[in-house]
Subunit: 236 residues, 2 copies
DNA sequence: ACCTGAACACCGTTCAAGT
DNA sequence: ACCTGAACACCGTTCAAGT
């Protein structure tokens, strides 16, 4: 006769003490956190929410993560894994940067509620994220960017990308003035944009992102040309 | 002989019941929240933290704000009031845009710990906000931007500014690889940036913001020139 | 109308006890 | 080693009672 509290028994209550087979792992906890975050927003990364979803006590998680901050850093790693840095070995730096930015935005736009949380938490040591920065820095320095400026280029684009990812998650009609005649210029611009984008089948957030990224990359190319000229190097 | 629980008596405990003179107001609550946020971070907007600072019970605040969300929206209004759109009536559109972006970021950078919180909560429908958009759209259209594109220009810059504001809220050493030799390019770039910025007395977030904004504005000017040429207008 | 004070349903985290 | 279960110090919010 099988014991009623066997680990394999669905819905059975586990007694105290170490289970015969491990029920948790760091990976399982992080993936559950990301899934819950997508499903129910910021509250999803709660220790208790994840424990509840996994059918364990909240305190059990502390065998695999050191606390809430560690949990958040781990979830970011999961997302960062999908950012594409392969372009830096294949195409010109500005095209690689655009490809990087596009995949960066896509990765976070898929998990909008993580952004504000993740951007404030420091980088975990020796992480996949560090690997990504290393690849992008290499590409920029190879293209002629001064070592001391590379991270500012990266952070500038990151700032824009993360803001754009937040925007992509927001209500498309967020800017609707919902007035008539009180703000003529604003109201006219809103109506004109709606009509113009409807013809193209494009979303407002998409349009602003593409325009902003193109502008920033075009500006960065001009700035790099200036730096090259300063150093007397032959520009391209 | 004065009553020991007189409202005017410093440190005296108030008894139950309506006080003889009002001790709270919405404005006082919001300003205290902003002040505490500056002083002790995200925890400052807590209902209990504000109540403690004002020497009242947590439940007392509910006579003036409807809850935590209302509190946060109110604090944001306080900050947003400092965004400067006056430049659009005084200087070229790109300079006005820079001034607008600077004040936009400064308004939030003055209260760094509010950003992560405020950017998650959707923008409330406020006439002050619509007023701001109306002024910026007017400036852009007057400069030659097509009505249908004006809001994309605005949103692109807003995305960057909000991302930069999030960055300003983060730990300045957030990107510290904290490794030795594992990520040579990344580590070298981090060290070079630190040295270069120390000489200028500038913060990393500041440097990335300025570079990104300059790049974006320069790119936007190029794009507008292209649009003008397309329409056969005389560029400047 | 506006505050107190108690209560309720939540958090994250710690730690002894059990296997 | 890895989980339970109780406990602790927190939250935001509700509501009757008091003036």
């Amino acid at each position: 006769m099988p014991r009623p509290d066997d680990d394999a028994t669905a819905g059975a209550r586990r007694g105290a003490g170490r289970p015969r087979s491990r029920v948790l792992s760091r990976r399982l906890i992080l993936e559950t956190g990301l899934r819950l975050m997508d499903a129910r927003g910021d509250g999803g990364v709660g220790i208790r929410a994840i424990a509840g979803e996994l059918g364990v006590q909240p305190s059990s998680l502390y065998n695999h993560v050191s606390g809430r901050d560690d949990l958040i850093a781990g979830v970011r790693e999961l997302i960062s894994d999908r950012i594409d840095v392969a372009g830096f070995d294949a195409v010109p730096w500005y095209d690689a940067l655009e490809r990087w930015a596009d995949s960066y935005r896509a990765a976070f736009a898929a998990h909008p509620s993580t952004i504000a949380l993740l951007t404030v938490t420091p980088l975990a040591e020796g992480s996949r994220t560090s690997e990504m920065y290393d690849a992008v820095v290499r590409g920029l320095v190879r293209a002629g960017w001064p070592e001391a400026r590379a991270l500012s280029v990266i952070v500038a684009i990151e700032n824009f990308v993360l803001g754009a990812a937040l925007d992509a998650a927001a209500d498309p009609d967020m800017l609707d003035p919902r007035t008539e005649g009180r703000f003529p210029a604003f109201e006219a611009a809103f109506a004109a944009r709606r009509e113009s984008l409807a013809a193209l089948g494009s979303a407002p957030a998409e349009d602003a992102y593409r325009l902003g990224l193109r502008a920033m990359l075009s500006g960065l190319r001009a700035i790099l040309s200036g730096l090259r000229a300063e150093r007397g190097a032959i520009g391209r």
